[in-house]
Amino acid sequence: MSAKEEPWQRAEIAGPKKALLILKPEVVGAMVKKAKRPILVAGHLAAEDYSKSVRMIEYVIRIGKAANIPVVATAHAVSEFIKRGFQATSMSAMDIGSRLADPEWKGLDGAGSYDLALFMGLPYYMEFVILSGLKHFSANLKTISLDRFYNPHASWSFPNLSVKDWKENLETILAKLGEERKDVNV
């Protein structure tokens, strides 16, 4: 698929301010490194088997560890993280969304507000509206969608990708974050 600013769900059009395409995934790695207070939000789809070859949760955990950033698991996803011995904070998608939109929120640890939020594994349309809420109501927060599909209300998003390209991109980000690169098999 060619790289285009084209929403996965055809009708989910954002308006004048659309997500910039992540064409070089290493830039995401650099942005995460540069961010003062990044956070990763993982939806329930992250805890499900994405396909035979992809466990999204593994990427969430690897990114969380490599970048040393807090992970919020929405819906019931936390139970999968617990099984894997990874500490994620359990919070609903709407709760974390509204907190991120509040400039006075001091974060999960009380140490201050976040400046970068990465999203993965929410239902496409739900992530779409939450990213929109953040675009409009949280001036100091940048958002990145790490899902396989272009999500136009983010600040940056992958274009619609094949599973293979998506995995490649995530591996590149992880390499940039200092993790050893793994081979991508699809």
């Binding site: 996965w8 769900q9 055809r10 009708a11 059009i13 954002a14 308006g15 004048p16 301010k17 939806g43 329930h44 929405t74 819906a75 019931h76 936390v78 139970s79 999968e80 617990i82 099984k83 904070t89 359990s90 609903s92 998608a93 709407m94 709760d95 969304g97 509204s98 907190r99 939109a101 509040d102 929120w105 929410l122 239902p123 496409y124 349309y125 739900m126 509206v129 939450i130 929109s132 809420g133 675009k135 409009h136 109501f137 001036a139």
Partner: protein, 784 residues
């Protein structure tokens, strides 16, 4: 002197004038209402748009809007399009928060207008047929408070059909006022828009109540009967050897016309009458001969299956392409509502014989008939003649055709990208090309029947039909039992459960309502309902959700309605009826405050809502909510202080009302005994939120049943359910448990050790349990 909204009645014992002395003079202007309700009128009879604004703002301070704009622009007037991104304002000065709240208000006005107009049509129709003085009776001796919502909001006690005219006058005026505030250059504050949203919801509840009590009273629906009969439901309900009429919609008179005509002509049992959506609910409340096909998402699959020989549509939630689809299977359509004419010729004044002949000979694809008796006659006579001719013509393809088409599929993904539930149709087509239709059949389980995949496919494959065909074998065997809508809750039931609910010993009332826009199919609704019924909550239901929860059987072949009582009691699964019956759920909460707690009812909205919000552990779940009516219904509950959870698609309503458990200052109430401000924890935590998964919804519902007034025994019971469900579905103890434990006796004994450990870690401190209120005027003793 007694005032109705339209009339003034003056009674003067003695009047001296130039003309002499008059005794016992009575003057009436407009209509006179007989006064049989002696309770003094409370502070807010027939409240105007702003009469309850202070109450709304109290709720909105705690439950703040989180806006989720669909897109960055507004295009409501020709100043626009305006880009409202971030802090930009439109040409009219409106910002994004204002615009989003305005859209929510528009949705709720549409919803309220729909119910009120439905009520107006019903009341007018029933008055014409049965007279203005027909008494309102929705439960005989079991119900004194026949219209709790109307009494609370309007401050009148409706006794006859004609009294509902005043009520509907009020509703219509309010909806007009509210709608006018959405004009460009009117309201500018998002919070004021939100207060108006609440008003629309309250008016909607009144409109729904008027509609349902009118039809229950006059049409002989079950009157608050916990043992209302079981009816057949499912794709396979109709005896296909008989001519079959399918009715779709929400407003029952035309369907009643069909049953009445069949009865009059001795044809009952010779013609099948099956329904989809709320008309199906209401026609089974009217006649045991009618059956239910399923919720709104069953429309297209049933029409395309060709099983219906004739379709009668009335109003609301009917597919706009009904006529187009019906023509494909040679099924004539009768439209019967002014709100949904489908471009058809108006044959209301045409002799029936002519219309029947034209339909049978296929000279017209359908007709508009705005007279329910005539609809009955034309529908029945036409279907008897046309059924043998149609020969169940269908457009669901044969399996070979699907395999053939699948080989031509280019896997372009357009179908999947159009599917609201992101179903892997291309992969299923790939399997079908190899002769494996199981993946397509699996999609049917969670398909909402929208046919967006059909429209998207560049090869014009009728994909929804493929999916239906693949799952046909199971589908056609579908036959379940659902308890028909019982209507209101009896006063005596309220007396029995009022105390355990308010003290918390019945852990909560879970109202599972709304449409069938489910993320994973309707079975999730049945699972949620059973989880709570088993735990001895009271489960109340209505509308499409009530149907969906019937569509699952246990190993013994029993549905939930066969396993659980229909009584409003612990462990009950209580189907109140159609969309408009939702008013009885609000009514039950209101009656708890009035009958059990003896709070004044008449035009006393704030106090009753304050009572419900702080004491009645009721939560709504609209797992598949899609409509503007569902938005209005939810907003009626918000103003009463009852929280509502929607499914993930509900995030598209564009705004949540969320509490913040991390802000202790938000969770204080006044102790009505002393006037002290007391922290009570985030109970209930939200007023409106969307859950992403069934598991999340279940845990959230259990948590949101907690109320400040719970006794320690009640709180311990509620905490047991919350912690137990959290542990099972989230694999851990909740991380906010310390916010819900007020003192040591709140802690469930069986969980004592682990909870005490958490409390210690969190530096928890004991809190007192107040007599909670948000209204300073209810404080009995002021400090200082």
């Amino acid at each position: 002197m007694h005032l109705t909204r339209k009339g003034v009645h003056v009674k003067i014992d003695e009047l001296k004038s130039d003309f002499g002395l008059f005794k016992n003079l009575e003057l009436s202007v407009g209509r006179v209402a007989e006064e049989t309700w002696t309770e003094p009128t409370g502070p807010t009879p027939f409240p105007s748009v702003t009469a309850l604004r202070d109450w709304d703002m109290k709720l909105l301070q705690r439950y703040r809007p989180f806006y989720l704009p669909y897109c960055d622009v507004c295009c409501l007037c020709t100043f626009g399009k305006c880009d409202l991104t971030q802090d930009k304002r439109g040409a009219c000065g409106l910002n994004m928060a204002g615009q989003q709240s305005r859209i929510v208000l528009l949705a709720c006005c549409i919803g309220a207008a729909t119910h009120v107009a439905h009520g107006r049509h019903l009341v007018e129709h029933l008055i014409e047929k049965y007279g203005r003085n027909s008494p309102l009776d929705i439960g005989g001796l079991n119900i004194d408070i026949e219209a709790p919502v109307t009494r609370l909001v309007c401050g009148i006690k409706p006794e006859k059909l004609r009294d509902l005219e005043d009520v509907l006058d009020y509703c219509e005026e309010q909806v007009t006022q509210l709608l006018s505030s959405t004009h460009t250059g009117q309201e500018g504050s998002n919070l004021d828009f939100e207060s108006k949203v609440f008003h629309a919801g309250m008016v909607d509840q009144v409109g729904m109540e008027a509609a349902d009590i009118a039809q229950i009273s006059v049409l002989g629906f079950p009157k608050a009967d916990p043992e209302a009969s079981l009816t057949d439901l499912g794709f396979g309900v109709a005896d296909v050897s008989k001519p079959t009429i399918l009715v779709i919609g929400h407003n029952v008179p035309s369907s009643v016309g069909i049953i009445d005509y069949l009865t009059e002509k001795g044809l009952l049992g010779k013609v099948e009458v099956v329904g989809i959506c709320c008309t199906a609910h209401d026609i089974t409340r009217y006649s045991s001969m009618a059956k239910i096909v399923g919720p709104i998402s069953w429309q297209l699959r049933y029409i395309r299956s060709g099983l219906a020989d004739l379709i009668v549509v009335d109003e609301q939630c009917i597919r706009a392409d009904t006529l187009v689809e019906a023509q494909k299977v040679k099924t004539p359509v009768i439209a019967s509502s002014e709100k949904n004419c489908l471009g058809l010729e108006n044959r209301t004044a045409t002799p029936s014989e002519k219309t029947i002949a034209d339909l049978v000979e296929n000279k017209v694809p359908g007709v508009l008939i705005l007279d329910s008796d005539k609809v009955g006659e034309v529908a029945v006579e036409t279907v008897m003649k046309i059924a043998p001719k149609r020969g169940r013509f269908k457009i669901i393809p044969e399996l070979e055709k699907i395999v053939e088409a699948a080989k031509e599929c280019t896997e372009c993904n357009e179908c999947r990208r159009a599917c609201p539930n992101d179903k892997p149709i291309p992969e299923a087509m790939k399997a079908a090309a190899k002769g494996d239709l199981n993946p397509l059949a699996e999609i049917l389980e969670s398909c909402v029947g929208c046919a967006r995949c059909d429209s998207a496919c560049p090869n014009d494959f009728p994909l929804h039909s493929f999916i239906v065909k693949a799952g046909e074998e199971k589908l056609c065997k579908e036959k379940f039992k659902m308890r028909v809508g019982r209507g209101a809750i009896q006063d005596v039931e309220i007396r029995n459960v009022g105390q355990p609910i308010v003290l918390g010993e019945i852990p909560g009332v879970i109202a599972i309502v709304g449409c069938s826009n489910y993320p994973q199919g309707g079975k999730e609704v049945a699972e949620i309902a059973e989880e709570f019924a088993k735990r001895r909550f009271i489960v109340v239901t209505s509308g499409c959700a009530a149907m969906s929860m019937a569509m699952v059987k246990d190993e013994e072949g029993k549905t939930l309605y066969e396993k659980y009582t229909g009584a409003f009691d612990a462990g009950g699964i209580v189907n109140v009826g159609s969309c408009v019956s939702n008013a009885h759920i609000a009514g039950a909460a209101i009656k708890i405050a009035n009958i059990f707690a003896k709070r004044k009812l008449r035009a006393n909205y704030e106090e009753i809502a304050d009572y419900i919000h702080n004491r009645v552990g009721a939560v709504g779940l609209a797992w598949g909510a899609y409509s503007q009516k569902a938005a209005a219904i939810a907003s009626g509950f918000w103003r009463l202080g009852v929280p509502v959870v929607v499914g993930p698609h509900g995030s598209k309503y564009r705004r949540m009302l969320l509490g913040r458990q991390d802000k202790p200052e938000d969770w204080c109430v006044l102790d009505a005994r002393t006037g002290d401000k007391v922290y009570v924890g985030p109970a209930p935590e939200h007023l409106f939120t969307a859950a992403e998964t069934k598991e999340e919804a279940i845990v959230l519902l259990a948590k949101m049943c907690m109320r400040p007034n719970d006794t320690s025994k009640g709180r311990a019971i509620k905490l047991t359910h919350y912690v137990d469900l959290h542990r099972r579905l989230f694999g851990s103890l909740p991380n906010d448990i310390h916010l819900f434990v007020r003192n040591n006796t709140d802690i469930p004994i069986t969980m004592k050790d682990e909870i005490v450990k958490v409390l210690e870690e969190k530096g928890w401190q004991e809190q007192r349990i107040p007599d909670p209120t948000l209204l300073p005027r209810l404080v009995r003793e002021r400090k200082g």
